[in-house]
Symmetry: C2
Subunit: 424 residues, 2 copies
């Protein structure tokens, strides 16, 4: 049952061929089997999840996620579960309400299985989670637990967040689909603010169609993708200004392009646009100032309880981020956001690396975000799906980037790519 | 001591001529005297405020608001005081942290006096507060308690919020300075979200220089106004597409313009720009969808505990707001925001009504926001200051609107207008 996609599960439950309780119990068994090694969960109350599933099984209401288990990154508020934002400061904290995404998912029938591990405040200080494909490697971050839990079949759907690269990178490292909608598409009320002008909800699943359904739910229908076979126009963007991915990733990207062309997609090489090398610096300029503001209380009044790594990052930002540097970054971001529209004059989506390569060994860092930050700064929708394995046998994802607001088109193209890579 | 401005108080405290404790006790005496009639406070703990003031008096650290009392609208999180967002659902709620604006004000030395009354969730359902100039009249809203408390000398500084007209209108009705910075200038982490793309912090005081200092603190220095006498170029904008203000307001605006010209300001009549009549509709289109998303949990799971008026508004929005109508409003807002820059080609600020007229009689509504919503939608900075009294003897404010991001210029112009109106 761990192989069931969210849509298959929803269909079986709707048809009366599967109960939500059976599915939830199967997820809990998978957790019991693997959690000691993976450490994906911050909070999981089996009795509560089963009780919710039983209520769903007795209910006549039938939402689009009826009975389907969902994991929630622990930077997202839940009214019935503790929410600690990965921080000692908030240990045992009980939010007074659900975040909007949680409330919408519950109303659509989803069963909240539990809270997944996040790095501290979704920044760089790692949590306890390990890569489900090899426990000596990072799962990526900051949505570490969500990516890992979906990656080893503990749960078919999960929420994460992305402000820099916190959805795409862990999804690539854990071999799952990760999707960050256009900034602003999904309401972020009740998600702990990291950088208010960049924070987005992230969605994890095993299939593109699964994240598409979840996206429709959490945006109140603003993202309504038609996944019927469309043949996308793809721009294979030269990302060399950000450095090269590792050889295996480069090879898999080339192979993916070859297969897409064989399947009838139009793939064109796109040169790096002017200024692309600076996009990550602009992201840093926005991120540093906004994070300092968002964590004013923690920095000023609870500094001793921050992890040393988080503290060090704040200290560095306090030195480097000034009102003047921030205004400059805001101006450059506005120009870059307007300018990047030209990348899409002749193509529907860009094809780029999701990360440098496989999940690196060790749990100290969550990996290099160099192929992520610019898309977050540009506020574009992006999605990764698995395209193969690297030298160490770990998953590697391909990243597709859509035009601002064109999330439906991105999801359609991703569905095409997914089908193309699946057919061998 | 109730006549002291925040800057005078800060200066006296810094010079050792006044203790924070004396000032806080004086505020508390004023509250004791007037609160039965005004009802500005949701939470006020005299002992706690005095204890904080004593700590400030013993402290060697000297921030720009050292020892100065500050009131906080009850939609803004405070770690040491209950925060109920004006709602039964959150009665007794204790936030786990301070909002960013509260933390920054505390770090600057401000003494948090207490929490002021808000309408439910900063929407239309009135709280208990009365106009300090006549208890039969509304104080305006949603920042009712903050405007009223500053208006009758209970506290020299207060935080409010504005998403539609929740700072400018109550400030005008209560005879105080009210200031809404450019959207995005002040971080809103820890403020209960009403409409994420519109919410701004609002500042109340008795003088322009006071809100300017508070603005510098809450924006980490992004707003650094030079208030030295500048002679502003003012556009007297024709707002007739939104209807006419009442005769007293119209007369006072004319009188204000005459005095500004006498003082050497350049005032030019500006015709209504094309499309201005639709700006309020665009605001409604943004507001309705965003509010539905922000309150997903309360609407879907705690609906019975909403006030009937709030419930009615949500029901209306649930009928009218669709993904399609929202996308349309977003597109129109983007156009209007770009287009309105042309209003400022030849002037520094616009001069417009702050409200139709005096605070209306009765507490059922908080007044008509027709002169407020468009500036919130356009994300422009705006400020009101008292210009006279109306037929019922209640205050009437003039509103100045600045160019996007040009908050310092707006504050400078407001200082000129304030001085001009003070000199009789």
């Amino acid at each position: 049952m761990k192989e069931l996609t969210a849509l298959e599960a929803a269909r079986l439950i709707a048809a009366g061929q599967l109960t939500s309780e059976t599915l939830v119990r199967s997820c809990l068994e998978r957790v019991a089997e693997l959690e000691a090694g993976v450490q994906a969960w911050e909070h999981l109350d089996a009795d509560q999840a089963i009780a919710q599933a039983r209520i769903a099984d007795r209910s006549t209401a039938r939402g689009p996620l009826h009975g389907v288990p969902l994991a929630i990154k622990d930077v997202i508020d839940t009214v019935d579960m503790p929410t600690a934002y990965g921080s000692r400061i908030y240990r045992g904290h009980r939010p007074a309400s659900d975040a909007t995404c949680v409330a919408l998912a519950r109303a659509a029938g989803a069963i909240i299985l539990g809270k997944t591990v996040t790095t501290e405040f979704a920044t760089g200080a790692s949590g306890k989670t390990r890569n489900p494909h090899n426990p000596a490697h990072t799962p990526g971050g900051s949505s570490s637990g969500s990516a890992a839990a979906v990656g080893c079949g503990m749960v078919p759907l999960a929420f994460g967040t992305q402000t820099y690269g916190s959805t795409i990178r862990p999804a690539s490292f854990c071999g799952v689909v990760g999707y960050k909608p256009t900034y602003g598409k999904a309401d972020v009320t009740g998600i702990k603010t990291l950088a208010g002008g960049l924070d987005t909800l992230g969605l994890f699943a095993r299939r593109v169609a699964d994240v598409a359904r979840l996206a429709s739910v959490v945006t109140g229908g603003r993202i309504a993708a038609d996944l019927a076979s469309q043949t996308p126009r793809i721009g294979f963007l030269d990302t060399s200004p950000w450095g090269a991915p590792d050889p295996a990733t480069g090879q898999l990207l080339g192979e993916t392009v070859r297969r897409l062309v064989e399947a009838g997609a139009r793939v064109r090489d796109l040169p790096s646009p002017v200024g692309m090398a600076t996009w990550c610096e602009i992201q840093d300029g926005l991120f540093s100032w906004q994070a300092l503001q968002a964590f004013a209380w923690e920095r000023l009044f609870r500094r001793d309880e921050l992890q040393p790594k988080t503290c060090g990052v704040f200290e560095q930002y306090e030195q480097s981020a000034t009102p003047e540097s921030y205004e400059t970054a805001l101006g450059l971001a506005q120009e870059a956001r307007a300018g990047c529209a030209s990348l899409f004059t002749d193509c529907d989506v860009l094809l780029v690396p999701a990360a440098i390569g496989e999940a690196p060994k060790g749990l100290e860092t969550t990996g290099d975000p160099r192929f992520n930050g610019a898309w977050s700064m540009l506020q574009l929708p992006c999605l990764t799906l698995p395209m193969g394995r690297g030298a160490a046998g770990l998953p590697i994802g391909v990243q597709l980037v859509g035009q601002r607001g064109q999330d439906a088109k991105l999801l359609g193209a991703a569905c095409f790519v997914e089908a193309c890579l699946a057919s061998t």
